[in-house]
């Protein structure tokens, strides 16, 4: 039976279990008139039976899904006689057998070894599927029967159902922990494998990045070089350009909007900022590569400068536009949190509005503003699409904004989007870079959030 129809059947069974248990609960007290004699609402008895019906069966299906493949593989592999393997390895043969079954092209033209394997494979799969369906349905029926048999007038069905629901809610909340754990473990694990091949000091302090791995050992430039300094410098260069654009504009916008602007101006300007923040980064990338980069190049040439067509300046400028809303909305919040009394005191001493802002409001809001700038910096460092499209691929160690540089994120994408062996140093390097990226942004975020929170408490 196909998995979708099996699940549909299970859902029908669940609905049936609900109705049966509900009726049975009412029967134990002699009908709906006496429902108040039950410990819980009739629907709670129904829900309890439904849980007993569907949860064990679903757990079984999940386990089956995880274990089915490996178990079948092992059984088929056990049938293989190592002597008959004509140089091919077991995994390859198994793969071919799987593909044969999936494509349904087992005929007399296939060679006997593979055909035998494939047929065995198909047999086992069919049997496994049948067994799975029978077991799942049996579990559902047994679960329902068990739940129904325990229904009495005093069964505390509501408590049980609610305890189960609470468990589900708590499990959902812990998905966040699991995600973080998954990120840390997967990145760390692959990065460790990388550092077994390339020493961490070479990676952190090397100045040459050319991640080729050799196809033949005697190839020219066979040994790849994984010095990440050019990538870090490139990332910092582009982020610095972006912040140079975004911080003044974002900060001044925030000051203007929170201190000067009319409600009518705010009601227009705020959505504009939100739209700017909501535009997908791939759109910014397209804009950078097609409009901004050629414009900068033309401008540079007209004043006699040679500008690379994938200059850091173009990517940085556009990234700066992208992060203006982050700076402005966070700064807006902290500026608004400065107590009015501070401003009133300054006005009372005869200061003009701009003097008040510069000498009272700004210093008071400074920690929060620093926090918002750090968050924006973490955005800039982790931003991918703009640099993938508009920055270069070659790792130049330079701080000249008119030349092409590459960034950590660009390299992660280029290392992982090709079709190469997953275990090569080249692919694993992407995870080492990911590790650096994750921890850098994590540190920036934790520090920034800490600063902002501490500051907020100060005035509350």
């Amino acid at each position: 039976m196909a998995i979708s129809s099996l699940i549909l059947l299970l859902l029908l069974l669940t609905a049936a279990a609900y109705l049966i248990a509900k009726r049975r609960a009412l029967q134990t007290v002699g009908g709906r008139r006496n429902a108040s004699q039950l410990n819980s609402l009739p629907s709670h008895y129904g829900a309890l039976a439904a849980i007993w019906c569907v949860v064990p069966a679903l757990v079984l299906l999940l386990l089956w899904g995880v274990l089915e493949g490996p178990v079948i593989d092992r059984q088929v592999a056990a049938q293989l006689d190592p002597a008959t393997l004509d140089g091919g390895n077991v995994n390859l043969l198994l793969n071919q057998a799987q593909n044969l079954v999936a494509s349904g092209r087992i005929d007399s033209e296939t060679d006997p070894l593979r055909r035998g394997l494939a047929e065995h494979y198909r047999d086992l799969q069919d049997r496994s599927g049948l067994l799975r369906s029978v077991l799942a349905i049996a579990l559902a029926v047994i679960g329902t029967a068990f739940a129904c048999s325990r229904i009495t007038r005093t069964l505390r069905a509501r408590t049980r159902v609610e305890r189960f629901m609470l468990g589900v809610l708590a499990a959902s909340a812990s998905v966040a922990i699991l995600t973080t754990l998954g990120i840390v473990l997967s990145v760390l694990f692959e990065a460790m494998q990388f550092f077994r091949e390339v020493p961490p000091t070479d990676f952190l302090f090397g100045t040459v990045w050319s991640p080729q791995t050799a196809i033949r050992a005697d190839q020219v430039g066979a040994s790849g070089s994984f010095g990440a300094i050019p990538l870090f410098v490139g990332t910092l260069l582009i982020s610095a350009i972006a912040l140079t654009v975004a911080v003044p504009i974002g900060l001044m916008s925030a000051i203007y909007l929170s201190e000067y602007a009319h409600a009518s101006v705010r009601s227009v300007a705020k959505p504009v900022m939100e739209v700017l923040a909501g535009i997908p980064t791939v759109v910014y990338g397209f804009f950078a590569v097609l409009t901004v980069a050629p414009a900068i190049r033309r401008l540079g040439e007209s004043i006699g400068l040679s500008v690379a067509s994938e200059s850091a300046l173009a990517a940085g400028l556009v990234m700066g536009i992208m992060i203006i809303p982050f700076v402005s909305s966070l700064s807006d919040d902290v500026i608004k949190a400065v107590p009015q009394a501070l401003r009133d005191g300054s006005f009372g001493l005869g200061a003009t509005k701009s003097e008040t802002i510069r000498q009272v409001v700004f210093p008071a809001a400074l920690p929060g503003i620093v926090g918002s700038i750090l968050l924006a910096a973490s955005r800039a460092i982790g931003e991918t699409m703009i640099v993938v499209m508009a920055a270069g691929l070659s790792a130049n160690l330079t701080i000249n904004p008119l030349e092409a540089v590459t960034t950590v994120t660009v390299q992660i994408v280029t290392l992982l989007t090709g079709d190469q062996e997953f275990d090569s140093a080249k692919t694993l390097a992407a995870f080492a870079l990911g590790l650096m990226l994750f921890f850098t942004t994590l540190l920036l975020n934790v520090f920034a959030l800490h600063v902002v929170r501490k500051y907020r408490e100060q005035y509350e």
């Binding site: 959902s172 900060l251 700017l276 759109v283 982790g382 995870f431």
Partner: protein, 425 residues
């Protein structure tokens, strides 16, 4: 007047001037953001505009059995495998009998799209009686002709700098003079999957891929996100574990999206062996990414429901769970939905993590399920933006316009929900 007053008065003009400058600087910053937005959108719209129309050419196709290489009494199989490409070439030669050199002939055949022979084939299969006649048919023009026709600026470019040469221009003029050229809405762009030929490339596949990916994202992140928010707002004990969860959620919201892509490659593709390039994996990765957004928005919505509602339910004998599920949650739903839609809009525009799990493959077929290989709209934009043809630049911009329209619709719906169901207590 005292001395101090004197000093203050003397400096007033200067201070007011500085005040005005400061204020202007603020206004200029706000205007700068607005100007960037206008520039960006205007730039993309003007680039996208031509892509929404396309050019058709009318050709008279000689459908004689000798051109089509058909037997005398063709059955349906013979008709299906007839040589319609020859017929199209013959039709082009008939239109311009003077063309003789090899390279010019090739250029002539390429005036119409490679799709033309299939248009002819479909017409013949639909109506086999056409065989033996000469049939007039509108077929799709090649992208070079199409682009040249639509672009005034390209027409001013010297011949050696454009793909559409002067001798082709004279053909175009002749065809126009014979009323054999028409412009119509570019349905192809919305009806077909990706293609190497710009005139045949469409976003149907990417739209379907985005749809399936978002369905998976929604199906996972909405229930989990809302359940997590309920737990954290209404049930979680104040302890270390709860604090850890909260710190985690806040940090995940700020983790670069590409890191989620690394997680997707390492765990879902490499460890669990889920299919590459599939909306299933894309949806799972994006749902992990949007979860923090949904949880944070849902918590805010649940928190904004006054405690008196839950208290009243508790006072009437409801359990905590009943009070939350029956009373607090329905009242918080508009806020939760608004947050979810905004999270979905983010997921729709996300590109980087999907590149890593292989949704960048060149896929012609429109996906029909969550395990088919697929690509999504922003990734399609990324793929096309690499293509040098001008027609692809137009189509990239057009795909961006479609993407932005969807984003605007989703956000407008979120704003509507907020306005319509917002309550003040």
């Amino acid at each position: 007047m005292s001395e101090t007053t004197e000093i203050v008065r003397a400096s007033l003009a200067k201070r007011y001037a500085r005040e005005r400058r400061f204020r202007l600087l603020g206004l200029a910053s706000v205007m700068a953001s607005a100007a960037f937005l206008v520039l960006l959108l205007g730039n993309i719209l003007t680039k996208a505009w031509p892509a929404f129309t396309t050019t058709y050419v009318k050709i008279d196709v000689p459908l004689t059995p000798e051109v089509l290489r058909l037997p005398d009494a063709p059955d349906s199989e013979a008709i299906a495998s007839a040589r319609y490409g020859r017929a199209v070439k013959q039709a082009m030669r008939d239109l311009f009998p003077d063309v003789s050199s090899r390279s010019e002939k090739r250029a002539l055949y390429q005036t119409v799209s490679a799709q033309a022979e299939f248009t002819v084939k479909d017409a013949v299969i639909a109506n086999p009686e056409l065989i033996g006649t000469t049939h007039s048919l509108w077929v799709l023009a090649d992208d070079d002709l199409d682009t040249y026709r639509k672009s005034k600026s390209l027409q001013a470019v010297p011949e050696e700098d454009r793909r559409f040469k002067d001798f082709q221009v004279t053909w175009l003029e002749e065809l126009s003079a014979q009323n054999r050229i028409k412009t119509s809405f570019n349905w192809v762009f919305f009806e077909r999957g990706d293609s190497r030929e710009p005139e045949l490339a469409g976003i149907r596949g990417a739209l379907a891929g985005s749809f399936y990916t978002l369905i998976v994202t929604l199906a996972l992140s909405f229930p989990i996100g809302v359940a997590a928010a309920i737990y954290l707002e209404s049930f979680a004990p104040r302890n270390r574990l709860t604090d850890l969860i909260e710190v985690n959620i806040n940090n995940l919201a700020a983790v670069p999206s590409i890191v989620f892509g690394l997680l997707g490659v390492a765990v879902f593709i490499n460890f669990l062996h889920l299919p590459r390039s599939a909306p299933l994996v894309g949806g799972v990765v994006l749902s992990l990414m949007t979860l923090p957004t949904i949880i944070i928005a849902s918590r805010a919505a649940i928190k904004s429901v006054p405690p008196s509602i839950a208290d009243a339910a508790l006072g009437l004998g409801a359990s905590r769970m009943q009070a939350v599920m029956h009373h607090v949650l329905p009242l918080a739903m508009p806020g939760i939905l608004t947050g979810t839609i905004i999270g979905m809009a983010q997921a729709l525009g996300e590109t980087a993590p999907l590149l890593m799990i292989g949704m960048v493959a060149f896929i012609v077929d429109v996906p029909t399920g969550i395990t088919d290989p697929a690509t999504v709209l922003p990734v399609q934009v990324y793929l096309w933006s690499d293509s040098p043809e001008r027609a692809f630049t137009e189509r990239t911009s057009a795909a961006i316009v479609v993407l932005l329209v969807f984003l605007i619709l989703m956000n407008a719906f979120a704003v509507y929900l907020r306005k319509r169901f917002e309550r003040s207590w």
